[in-house]
Amino acid sequence: MELTAQAIFTGLLMGGFYGLVAVGLALVFGTMKVINLAHGELVLLAAYIAYAVESQTGINPLLAMPIAMAVVIAASLITFYLTNKIKKDRELNSLILTFGLGIVLTNGLLMVFSADIYSTQSAWFMEGLVIADSLFSMRSEMLAFVVGLCALGGLYWWLNHTWHGRAIRSVSSNRDAAKLMGMNPTKAELWSWAIAGVLAALAGVMLYVTSVIHPPIGHSLTIKAFIITVLAGMGSIPGVLVGALMIGVIEGLTTTFFQSSLSELASMTVFLLVLLVMPSGLFGKKAGH
């Protein structure tokens, strides 16, 4: 019983972080119908920037956030610019394009940082934290969870209560109608890519302090992010949170009761089942086919 509770707790914390990784992808998918297959690599880029700053200056990796954000927003906007250059069949060609950009980023990181595994040197993040006398976590895991929840909550508020946020929502629900109302859809899309960059940078720094980084994990982060996006249904932020927590708990339980190598198999299987039974996701309204 205690083991189950601990597994679910760890899973929930993990899920909060997954939500942070996935929400940027979901946002862009919502506004532009483009699945950015380089999103996980953008997250990883931020993580490597945190590593570079920490190893060069010895300061707390969290302080690398401004640099990470600047670089990742720039990278995200370049991706947006290139995606906009696609002339025909953007839905499929953008998949291949961002897949290519992901390869460029992964190999670029491999060239600069080699295939070695890095993690933070700061011991503060590794210290234990006990909640309700029996649930254990690392400080960094709790931090990532809280940052994830705040980012999702903030984004939800921003989309619903600010002018730019509403512009993004109107473009994502009907691009032509938004244009007729005097909206500039390209500008709204630009905003969503920039915000996706901010979210990826947050996720990347959290990734670095909670876990270990090496080049191939960018790809698996992308896969996880779109699994959650599809589970959530198009552009639904509460859906992303629920989907991410679900994946986190499934992985936590599989790791505890079976083995960690099977955790990805479990989440992948759930993803396929949901996709086949409910092609529009758990919370989506539009049909996926």
Binding site: K88, I96, I103, T106, L110, M111, E264, L265, L275, H289
Partner: protein, 324 residues
């Protein structure tokens, strides 16, 4: 035009390459490896061009084909050439698990296939009894001596993979020319309209997936006997998806010979030039090429070059007409 290019290409591959490179094991091995990529690229392009489906999961078919053939020859003593075909059949069978994904449209299909490929990789690593797990399978039998020719050599292997790719191209050519090809072409323009006039669209897509999986599996099986070693991370590696996609897009995935020429070019340039320039991360160039092609010329280089020639011809003719 396309057929002429294909014929010329095959002529060079059958006569020119063995004649000039036949006694250089390193170079003939490189060309054979490029042809392995080419085989998968043709299978990928067949699914993309005829079936209208972009797949990020061909590594799964490649791996399943490789393991099927390796296990059959090692544990059950099946002759290698028979096992190559059964490897293809195995990959086709594995594609049946992916059939439900055919309900999904465009990008959803592409991503579902990617998830399937990951699942197959994990299963292969975990099913240690069958696949040897992460430790891998060693000393997989080489291609045998057949009709007095030793196909186990580098040159022999080259001839075998060349024949496999040629057979694939011929199959592709006839499918495209058949009434199925016409129906599939019509499906590109409007799947709904095609369904309404009575074309069994889903059935055709299923057949294309089976054919593409079979081809990829057979090539994967060949590779297993060619290098005599398998491990899950290698057999199901994303490389078997990345290289063929880049090759097919680069050469032009709507043409017959484009994926093959693309694979030869990409692989040889990568191995001979970029690998020496950038020892770690040389696949970066592949990503740049892929992204560049999609933006600048999504239909690939071959159609552009062909267009250039035909336009020149047309210009010449016009010039002659004016002189006369």
């Amino acid at each position: 035009m396309n057929i002429k290019i294909s014929a010329l290409m095959l002529g060079v591959m059958y006569l020119g390459v063995p004649f000039f490179l036949g006694d250089n094991d390193y170079l003939i091995g490189l060309v054979a490896s490029a042809l392995i990529i080419a085989g998968v690229a043709v299978a990928w392009a067949l699914l993309g061009n005829l079936g209208g489906m972009v797949s990020f999961g061909h590594a799964a078919f490649f791996g399943v084909g490789a393991y099927t053939s390796a296990v059959l020859t090692m544990d059950y003593g099946v002759p290698v050439f028979v096992a190559l075909v059964v490897g293809g059949v195995g990959a086709s069978l594995s594609s049946i698990f992916m059939m439900p994904a055919l309900r999904l449209r465009g990008p959803y299909f592409a991503l579902a296939i990617l998830a399937y490929a990951e699942i197959f990789k994990i299963l292969a690593t975990e099913a240690t009894g069958l696949t040897g797990g992460a430790g891998g399978l060693l000393s997989i039998p080489s291609l045998p001596v057949f009709a007095g020719v030793d196909f186990g050599t580098k040159l022999g292997g080259y001839i075998v993979i060349l024949n496999i790719v040629t057979l694939m191209l011929i199959t592709y050519y006839f499918i495209r020319r058949s009434s199925y090809g016409l129906a599939l072409k019509a499906m590109h323009d409007s799947e709904l309209a095609t369904r309404i006039v009575g074309v069994p669209a889903t059935y055709l897509k299923v057949v294309m997936l089976l054919v593409s999986a079979f081809m990829t599996g057979a090539v994967g099986a060949f590779n297993a006997h060619y290098i005599n070693f398998l491990e899950p991370d290698y057999a199901f590696s994303g490389t078997w998806t990345v290289f063929p996609i880049v090759a097919a897009i680069f050469g032009g995935y709507r043409t017959l010979s484009g994926p093959v020429l693309g694979a030869l070019f990409i692989y040889l340039v990568d191995q001979l030039v970029f690998k020496n320039l950038i020892p770690q991360g040389h696949q970066l160039i592949l990503g740049v090429m892929l992204a560049g092609m999609i933006i600048l010329s999504p239909s690939g280089l071959l159609p552009v070059i062909t267009n250039l020639f035909t336009r020149k011809k047309a210009d010449n003719k016009r010039g002659e007409a004016q002189h006369a």
